[in-house]
Point group: C2
Chain length 257, copies 2
Amino acid sequence: MRRIAIAMAKGGVGKTTTAVNLSHGLARAGARVLLVDCDTQGQAAKFLGIDPPLGLYEFVTRRDDKGAPVSKKDTLCPARPNLWLLAGGDKLIELKNWLGEQPRDIRPTALRRSLVPKDDSLDFMIFDCAPGWDVLSVNILMAVNEVLCPVALQGPALEGLKTFFRYLLSAQKVNKDLRLNYVLPTLFDKRTRQSYQIYQQLYRLFRRQLCDPIHYNVRLSEAPSQGQTIFEFEGHAIGAADYEKLTRRIMDNGGPE
Amino acid sequence: MRRIAIAMAKGGVGKTTTAVNLSHGLARAGARVLLVDCDTQGQAAKFLGIDPPLGLYEFVTRRDDKGAPVSKKDTLCPARPNLWLLAGGDKLIELKNWLGEQPRDIRPTALRRSLVPKDDSLDFMIFDCAPGWDVLSVNILMAVNEVLCPVALQGPALEGLKTFFRYLLSAQKVNKDLRLNYVLPTLFDKRTRQSYQIYQQLYRLFRRQLCDPIHYNVRLSEAPSQGQTIFEFEGHAIGAADYEKLTRRIMDNGGPE
Ligand SMILES: Nc1ncnc2c1ncn2[C@@H]1O[C@H](COP(=O)(O)OP(=O)(O)OP(=O)(O)O)[C@@H](O)[C@H]1O
Ligand SMILES: Nc1ncnc2c1ncn2[C@@H]1O[C@H](COP(=O)(O)OP(=O)(O)OP(=O)(O)O)[C@@H](O)[C@H]1O
Ligand SMILES: [Mg+2]
Ligand SMILES: [Mg+2]
C-alpha cells in the first residue's frame, strides 16, 4: 500500500484540490483509496459533498462524543466507489492539544502506529495536509513514505518550497523511508511570464520529481461548492485532463524504490 | 495603541500581502508601526527585502542562539521609516513546541504578557498570522483586540470564514475585548461571476465590517520578489490604490469601541 502526503506549508496552493481529485482519479481507475483529511478546516468532506459524523479524531481516540467505543471501520466514510474519507475538522484542534502534551521524544511519532494499517485492504492512503507547520504536520510525515508538494506558480513559491524541503529533510532523519517523489506545479497561467519563470526554476531544481502542471481552470474552483470532483462536475475541463494525467503518473510511477 | 491580527485559517488569501502593505501604508501616513510575523515560513522579512538576525522567538525568550541575554529592542528590526519588523521563521517551531508543553489553563495566554507592550512607543501592532490553526494562533488572538479577516473571492471562501468565525467566538470567551472589525475581500476578479456572488454573500453577512475589495493585481505578486511593498514597486498600480484605501479606512475608523 502506498502512503502519500499532499503537503506544503504555504497556503492556498491546491493541496485539497489535488488530494480530492487525485483520490477520486485513483478510485475511478480501480484502486482502493482512503483520503485522510488532516486539516482543522475539514474541507475534504465539503469538496466531496458529504458530512461524516466521525473522522480522524475518533479513528485515533476510538471513542465518540458520548465516550462510547468506536471501531476504526466506523470512522471511514464511503464517499464514492473505491473511495473512503477519514474526515478532519474542529476536533483535530483537540488532537493537536493532546499531541503537544506528549513527551518530546515520542511526540513526532505519537500517531504513527494508529495511522499505518496492518492489513492490505487499501491500495492508497492520501493525506490532505493543513497549511502551516505544527505537531500534526510532523506526525503525518512520520506516517507516510511519499510526499507530493503542490507549488503555485506565482509569488514567492520557490521560497516556500525551499523552506518546506528543510522540514522534509529534518523529518527524514527520523523517518528514513520518507521521499519527496512529486513536485506538482499548480495554478499554471500560460498568459503570465511569472508562471513560466517559476516553472523553469522548478525544472532545474527538481527535474526527476517534476509533474506536468495543473493549469489555472476556474472549473476546479467551482466544483467544490457543488460537492463534486472535477470528473463529475465537468469531465471535459482542462482541470479534469490535468488530474487524470497526474493519476496516470502516480499509478505508473510505482512509488517508493 | 491598536493591536490588529491579520488572520484567516484558509491559506493563500492575502494575509501576508495585506499585513505588509497595510503596515507600510500606515507608516507612510506617519504612524509608528510594529509588524509581527507569526509564521514559521517567515515571509514578512522577504516581502520587505530584509534579513533580521533576531525576531519573535528571541523577543519572547530574551536569549539569542548562544544563550546570551537579548533586550526586546534588539529584536525589533527597522524596516522602513516608522516601520519595525519582528521576524518569524523556523524558530517559531520551537516556540510552538514550548507552548504545547504549558499547562492547559495557561497555554492560550502564555504569550500575552510579553506580546503586549507597556509603553505607548507605538501606534499600531500588526500581526501577520500563519495559515491553519494551532496553539500559536490562539495566543495571538489573546494578545490583540481587533481582527482583520482577508477572504479570497473564490472557491469555498465563505465556508472558511464561517469556520474561522467559530474560532474567534471561542477566543472571545477568554479575551472579552476581541472584535472582528474588518472583513477584507481579496483577489477580486471583475471578470468572474464567482467573485461577485461571494462578495454579495459577504455584504449580507458582514455589512458593518466589509471593506472595499483588493483587486487581483499581478503587481502585488511581483513586488515581494523584489523585496518591495506595492507603494515602492509600482505606486500607480491598482493594488497600491486598494491598499491606500484600506490604510485610510483603518486610520479613520478609530479602532476598538
Ligand atoms: N488549478 C486551479 N485552478 C483554479 N482554481 C484553483 C486551482 N487549484 C485550486 N484552486 C482554487 O484555489 C483555492 C485554494 O485551493 P485549495 O483549497 O485546494 O488549496 P490548499 O493548498 O488546500 O489551501 P489551504 O492551504 O487553505 O489548505 C480554492 O478556492 C480552489 O478552488
Ligand atoms: N490582490 C492580489 N493580486 C494578485 N496576487 C495576489 C494578491 N494578493 C496576494 N497575491 C499573491 O497570492 C499569493 C498568496 O498571497 P499571501 O502570501 O499574501 O497569502 P497568505 O494568506 O499570507 O498565505 P499563507 O496562508 O501561506 O500565509 C502570493 O503569491 C501573493 O503574491
Ligand atoms: Mg487545503
Ligand atoms: Mg502569509
